[in-house]
């Protein structure tokens, strides 16, 4: 009887434990789901952009162009007045204030959009074409359904008059949503509808590249030396402990180091991926050394003995046999280390990669933003357009991380499969 009871209890304990496990996993999945849902529901709208159609005649007189082939003349033509005058005609207004409200529905970049169009289509001189001009952020949000129309007018960013214009435009079929290529091709901007994370992506790529170029060779050399050649004594023990400690140092400390040494002593250019990459590589070094040493340790001693017995020297044994076999593990460790560096924000803030950069960086020596810092910057902005862009940037960052981590898994499986 007693036995029976105990067995029952054992089964119950087993069931209970499984239940705990299922609850834990469900909770974890719930939070992941919540994060993904929040990011996607906020961010997807950033991938489209609202445009307003406008029929424009590229009147040579108005533009002041006498010869289309004169580059100077075409470049300096008055596109601003042309579009301005044409656009305010699209809705009746009675005073200066209303006129201003009309033009404010367009993004301030309309002048350049018209110019870019004309530079590509010079044969359209004196002809009427339908231009698609980027709408202002508020108009964009209104069209995307993110704008609260029902609150009192004095607390709204769009006036009743402007809402009326929107309704009219919509009725006339003048409003169109297109894919937001600006998001990928532009740098930061004060106007949400003109801001993109193109600069941040380039900055992040340059930073990671610098980080890889510095940390991978140093980490590999350190790991190989410590694991294969270094004598086992107090000094190497101390070094080992300190490498493990270094992996646990808060990343902001590396930012301070970058600020104090790289910027102030070596006077490297501020806000650049070069400095960011160096600071991050200090952080990444131990994170590559540790998995690299583990994979070197995992290479069976029989392979080393086989090579040594063939008369290979120690260096030949290590570089012909041990290091290639440890490569899959080392590479996946490297990629995961770089993925961590990619998401690192704090050190970059300290070395000034938090600057407002409009231009896309052309090299690691140009000032630049990076993806996580862009998230930080935009998340502080009040405009609704930046809220969706923050989420879109997070999506981009997560996308990069997923790609890199899958690459790590792939690298490990691909190269290990080959010989087993």
């Amino acid at each position: 009887m007693n036995k029976e009871l105990r067995r029952k209890k054992r089964y119950q304990a087993e069931k209970r434990f499984q239940l705990y496990g299922i609850i834990a996993i469900s909770l974890a999945l719930f939070f992941v789901g919540l994060l993904v849902f929040k990011v996607f529901s906020d961010g997807t709208s950033a991938f489209s952009r609202t445009m307003i159609k406008l029929d424009v005649t590229f009147d040579a007189n108005k533009l002041g162009i006498t010869n289309v082939n004169d580059k100077d003349e075409v470049d300096n033509a008055d596109y601003y007045t042309l579009i301005y005058e044409e656009f305010i005609k699209s809705y009746p207004f009675s005073n200066r204030e209303e006129e201003k409200q009309i033009i404010k529905l367009l993004s301030p970049d309309y002048e350049f959009e018209a110019k870019n169009y004309f530079l590509k289509n010079k044969d359209q001189l004196n002809k009427t074409v339908t231009l698609l001009l980027t709408a202002s952020d508020d108009f964009d949000q209104l069209h995307k359904g993110n704008f609260p129309r029902d609150i009192p007018e004095d607390r709204r960013r769009l006036s009743n008059y402007q809402l009326k214009i929107y309704d009219q435009f919509l009725k006339d079929g003048k409003v169109e949503k297109i894919f937001n290529n600006y998001l990928f091709s532009k740098g930061d901007s004060r106007d949400p509808e003109l801001a993109g994370f193109g600069g941040a992506i380039l900055g992040s790529l340059f930073t990671i590249l610098i980080c890889l170029l510095i940390s991978f060779p140093i980490a590999l050399a350190a790991a190989v030396y410590l694991e294969e050649f270094a004598p086992k004594n107090k000094l190497t023990d101390l070094i080992e402990i300190n490498i493990n400690n270094l992996a646990a140092v808060p990343s902001i400390v590396f930012g301070l180091l970058g600020l104090g040494i790289l910027l102030n002593v070596f006077e490297l250019p501020r806000s650049t991926p070069l400095v960011g990459g160096i600071a991050l590589s200090l952080m990444t070094l131990p994170r590559i050394i540790i998995p690299a040493r583990a994979s070197l340790k995992a290479v069976p001693p029989s392979i080393r003995e086989g090579a040594l017995a063939m008369g290979a020297s120690k260096v030949q044994t290590v570089f012909h046999h041990v290091v290639p076999l440890a490569m899959p593990g080392t590479l996946s460790g490297t990629i995961i280390g770089l993925a961590q560096a990619l998401g690192e924000t704090a050190p970059l803030l300290l070395i000034g990669m938090v600057a407002f950069v409009v231009e896309l960086p052309g090299s690691p020596m140009d000032p630049s933003a990076s993806l996580p810092v862009q998230v930080y910057l935009w998340s502080e902005s009040a405009e609704r357009g930046f809220v969706e862009k923050t989420s879109a940037t997070i999506m981009m960052l997560l996308g990069f991380l997923i790609v890199m981590n899958s690459l790590a898994v792939y690298a490990r499986q691909k190269f290990e499969k080959k010989w087993n």
Partner: protein
């Protein structure tokens, strides 16, 4: 004892002591190994026979805490002199391990590795020739000639061990050390390796450590019996197995301990 006169010493061990840290593993080993013969080293586990084998090509050097005193002469040259180049030594003294350990490379590259690091082959043709003859000598050529570029680790256990033997002979050593080469193999593969060892002794001097007394009896001309780090008895295999001088040898051979 007419035969004895024709024999030529290849390896002479003089008073070899081996220490692992504070623990002494071998006590004053004196023995002689003759050229173009198979010498078997037998004894219970942990008796030091493998340790002694690894002294002959200085594989124990790899172990930090291992200390060796005494002399081993190969062709009257002491390999424990301070200025000896172990790379040269291991070119002359090949080794086959207990567990087949082909490199995770193709069959061809497994064989070609030794000749390429020692610069033995001048060109691709010569290398092809070395690979072919090594595999033939190891009686593996017919089984693998159509898949030389497949991984060596894909072969069966017995084939892998013959691949390791082929790898060892590819650089044309004078001595081949075998550390329980058949302990991980089935009886058929074992029979093939034993046959191979017998044919190889014409060109090489072979020292084999084995757990199997019947194997020692089958393949070797001389046998040494180790116990607790000491060489108890060494002599003609036939004599050791039929009429040993030492009672301990007698007990081991008849299975009373070990």
């Amino acid at each position: 004892m007419e035969l004895e006169n024709k024999r030529e010493s290849k390896v002479i061990s003089k008073n070899i002591d081996v220490f692992y840290g504070d623990k002494q593993a071998l006590f004053g080993i004196d023995l002689e190994i003759y050229k173009n013969e198979v010498t078997a080293l037998i004894g219970p586990s942990g008796c030091g026979k493998s340790t002694f084998l690894r002294c002959i090509n200085r594989m124990n050097d790899v172990i930090d805490i291992c200390k060796i005193t005494g002399e081993i002469e190969i062709d009257n040259f002491n390999i424990y002199k301070p200025d000896v180049d172990v790379v040269r030594l291991r070119e002359k003294v090949g080794m086959v391990f207990q567990k087949p350990n082909p490199f995770p490379k193709s069959i061809y590259d497994n064989i070609a590795y030794g000749p390429s690091i020692h610069g033995i082959a001048k060109d691709k043709n010569e290398m092809d020739h070395i690979v072919e003859t090594s595999l033939q000598k190891a009686a593996l050529w017919n089984e693998v000639k159509d898949r030389l570029h497949e991984p060596g680790t894909g072969l069966s256990g017995g084939q892998q061990q013959r691949l390791c033997i082929a790898r060892a002979i590819s650089i044309n050593p004078e001595i081949i050390l075998m550390d329980e080469p058949c302990s991980a193999l089935d009886p058929i593969a074992t029979a093939k390796i034993e046959e191979l060892i017998d044919s190889l002794k014409r060109s090489f001097t072979i020292v084999i450590v084995t757990h199997s007394m019947s194997q020692a009896a089958r393949v070797s001309q001389r046998t040494g019996f180790f116990h607790l780090g000491k060489l108890i008895e060494m002599g003609e295999t036939e004599k050791i197995f039929k009429n040993p001088n030492n009672t301990m040898t007698q007990d081991y051979i008849t299975g009373r301990f070990g």
